[in-house]
């Protein structure tokens, strides 16, 4: 790793340690500064020319961390104060929250930086532990249940993922030696000498195991609970970054599998889990009554879209899928932050009880509505662009039937999201509700996601376009 990559880890890591040592009145601004500085360094690391340079896929997957940690740091600084009482218990809550949030960001940034497959598992498992502790901090029965369910399901999923790593390790032992370091680049270099059946089994185990963490159906059952019951900044970091981290690990396995046995198998499996996720996400969106669970189902839907883009295999579709990861990170963190403001103002997560969001919170409410439209795939936002790229790749690459089904399911998801966004944003509140933002700090955090998802809809900067194209080539290589 370059010194810059070490700095990427050092900023949130140091912020976590210092937040533990100092009172939260210092820890809060520190977390905000760490978020902004961390994001800047991550973007520098992704695009800069510091040797040894990051692999394109690693560089690309550092960007969701940058987008979300940059915004979440600022949002958290406001959130922990607003959510806690001014007593010793409140101070303990604030400190724990700041330590865990920065630690969580550090573990999330570690995933794309690691080249050791076992290390990837270690980093993902660490995120599980930290995320569960964060969800538990809410202190409600629902949060306890969600944390318990999350630990159990995510750890069981990761258990299967670890067996995938073990199978790959054992398969590579005759070629690389019984005590080799399990680096993905080494496996990629010898992929064609690995036993094909072992590689296939390793990929299936990795897709099931790390797919659980990514929220792919049918392993998604923990996701609505954890995202719904967790604190708002945690939900944003879980949805915006952790899902993409898990995808990153799957793509490393896919690269080795495609190089060893061809891409047909990975494409077929991606189609199955992608369509299932899209189906479940889209139809559950129609019948949600909890605003944060609605966003959680939208995450399942979007992870399905990404999987389908990967399944189509055409360069345009793959570029669309990778761009979709960035768009989703930006728009979903924006949506969770804004939803958190609505929940705080209306005192409920029930969609039926939230009316006139824009009236009550002119900036946050409006941003929630825009985030909802972005997530639904409305132009001119980035998700519209990436979904069109994926569909065009599918229609153009000989997968017209599947692309047609995907378009129909996207229409269902569109209907669900637009309906709930309209209901919550427009009209007048049923009861007298305080009107006005009171503070613009959270709105400033939301602007990050908004600017990214709107900007990526209008134009994809040339360096990003090049990075996405090169990242796609790292795993889409046949023997």
């Amino acid at each position: 790793m370059s010194w810059l990559s070490w700095l990427v880890l050092a900023i949130p890591g140091a912020a976590a340690i210092v937040s533990f040592l100092v009172p939260s009145r210092f820890g809060r601004p520190l977390t905000a500064v760490a978020g902004i500085a961390g994001a800047a360094v991550m973007i520098w690391d992704a695009f800069g020319n510091v040797e040894p340079r990051l692999d394109p896929l690693s560089a690309l997957f550092l960007l969701p961390v940058a987008i979300v940690y940059g915004a979440a740091g600022v949002y958290t600084a406001w959130y922990v104060k607003a959510e806690s009482r001014d007593d010793p218990a409140g101070e303990r809550y604030r400190r724990e929250f700041l330590v865990l949030t920065n630690g969580f960001a550090c573990a999330e940034a570690l995933v794309p930086l690691l080249s050791n497959m076992a290390g990837l598992w270690v980093a993902l498992e660490t995120t599980t532990i930290l995320a569960a502790l964060l969800v538990r901090l809410q202190g409600t029965d629902a949060a306890l249940e969600a944390a318990w369910k999350y630990i159990l399901i995510a750890s069981c999923g990761l258990a299967i993922g670890l067996i995938g790593v073990l199978v790959l390790y054992a398969a590579a032992a005759p070629v690389l030696g019984a005590h080799h370091v399990p680096e993905w680049s080494a496996y990629l270099a010898v992929a064609q000498r690995l036993d094909p059946d072992a590689v296939r089994l390793a990929f299936i185990l990795a897709l099931i195991g790390f797919g659980t963490k990514m929220g792919l159906a049918p392993m998604h059952t923990w996701l609505p609970d954890a995202h719904g019951a967790g604190p708002t900044p945690t939900s944003a970091m879980l949805s915006g970054v952790l899902l993409s981290d898990a995808l990153y690990v799957i793509l490393r396995f896919a690269g080795i599998t495609n190089a060893a046995v061809g891409a047909t198998m990975s494409h077929r499996l991606f189609v199955i889990v992608g369509l299932l996720s899209l189906l479940i996400g889209a139809f559950f969106l129609l019948r949600q009554h909890d605003i944060k669970r609605m966003l959680a189902y939208s995450s399942i839907e979007h992870m399905g879209v990404v999987a389908i883009g990967l399944a189509f295999g055409a360069p345009l579709a793959i570029a669309g899928a990778l761009l979709h990861v960035l768009n989703h990170a930006a728009s979903k963190s924006l949506a969770f932050f804004a939803a958190g403001r609505l929940v705080e103002r209306f005192g409920t997560r029930e969609i039926a009880a939230i009316r006139g969001g824009v009236q009550a919170l002119p900036v946050s409410g409006a941003l929630f509505a825009l985030a909802g439209l972005a997530l639904a795939g409305f132009p001119p936002f980035g998700i519209f662009r990436s979904e069109i790229m994926i569909l065009a790749g599918g229609f153009g690459g000989g997968s017209a039937w599947i692309a047609g089904i995907v378009a129909a399911l996207l229409a269902v998801a569109f209907a669900g999201l637009v309906r709930w966004v309209t209901v919550t944003s427009t009209g007048n509140a049923a009861e007298p509700i305080e009107v006005g933002e009171r503070t613009y700090v959270p709105a400033a955090a939301m602007l990050v996601g908004f600017v990214v998802v709107l900007g990526l809809g209008l134009v994809v900067p040339a360096p990003l376009g090049t990075l996405i194209a090169r990242a796609g080539q790292t795993f889409e290589r046949s023997p």
Binding site: N116, A118, G119, W121, V122, E125, T126, I129, A132, D141, A142, L144, E145, A146, W148, K149, I151, L152, S155, C156, A159, I160, L162, I163, V165, L166, V167, Y169, A170, A171, A173, P174, G177, A178, H179, H180, V181, P182, D195, D197, A198, L201, T221, P224, D225, G228, A229, F284
Partner: protein, 223 residues
């Protein structure tokens, strides 16, 4: 079929792998939590011993350290702590039995067969602990752990299912990939600690609410 007679070491290794699977199968015939905890401790002792043997027979002293840590935590400290926790409540905990014991064990045996068939298709390397059985044993323990969690829908039993499943993973890590970093083994231990914390919280709720620890009590969060 094996083409040569088993050496003593191979036979001992194979027997240890079988013993691991048997402790996993034995979970199904227990209907009280303390018995499940004891079984977990026995299984952990076997895994720790295997880890020590692999370490001593040439794969490095880090594995011996890991074996000692495993023995200290998973055989002595954590089971003792869990037994103390449930002393007052175990009488109240009823393990729901979705499928009767005989059928459960038959299903687990079938899963073991699936694990063996899957593993036998792969020309995995010689060496390791019990080369022909390493992957099969790992898969069997994980599969049976999942089956147990499904067939005994009780939160405490599911935590123990997770702990045994983790034993399977630990066995797989040590035997299939003894060169993997020490940190993987240590993190597996941290997983265990977290699971035990979850166990403690669940027991506390059980005491406070005088409720059963059935996961059906956890029904607020649904699709």
């Amino acid at each position: 079929m094996m083409s040569h007679a088993l050496t003593f070491a191979e036979a001992a290794a194979g027997s240890a792998a079988v013993a691991l699977i048997l402790t996993q199968l034995a979970l199904f015939r227990s209907v009280v939590i303390p018995e499940l905890i004891t079984l977990y401790a026995v299984q952990s002792a076997l895994v720790a011993a295997i880890c020590a043997v692999v370490g001593i027979t040439g794969h490095g002293w880090d594995l011996v350290v890991l074996a000692l840590l495993t023995a200290a935590f998973k055989v002595i400290v954590l089971p003792a702590y869990m037994l103390r926790l449930v002393r007052g409540v175990s009488g109240r905990v009823e393990l729901p039995v979705r499928v009767n014991v005989t059928l459960s064990i038959l299903m687990a045996a079938a899963l073991t067969g699936v694990a063996m068939l899957t593993a036998s298709r792969l020309p995995l390397p010689a060496g390791g602990f019990s080369p022909r059985a390493d992957l099969a044993t790992t898969l069997a323990i994980v599969f049976i752990g999942f089956l147990f969690a499904i067939l005994r829908p009780n939160a405490l039993a599911q935590v123990i299912a997770f702990l045994t499943l983790e034993n399977g993973l630990f066995f797989g890590t040590v035997t299939l990939a003894p060169g993997l970093p020490f940190v993987v083994g240590v993190l597996l231990l941290i997983d265990v600690l977290i699971a035990v914390v979850v166990f403690a919280v669940l027991v506390r709720i059980l005491i406070e609410r005088r409720a059963t620890a059935s996961i059906e009590a956890f029904s607020e969060l649904r699709g």
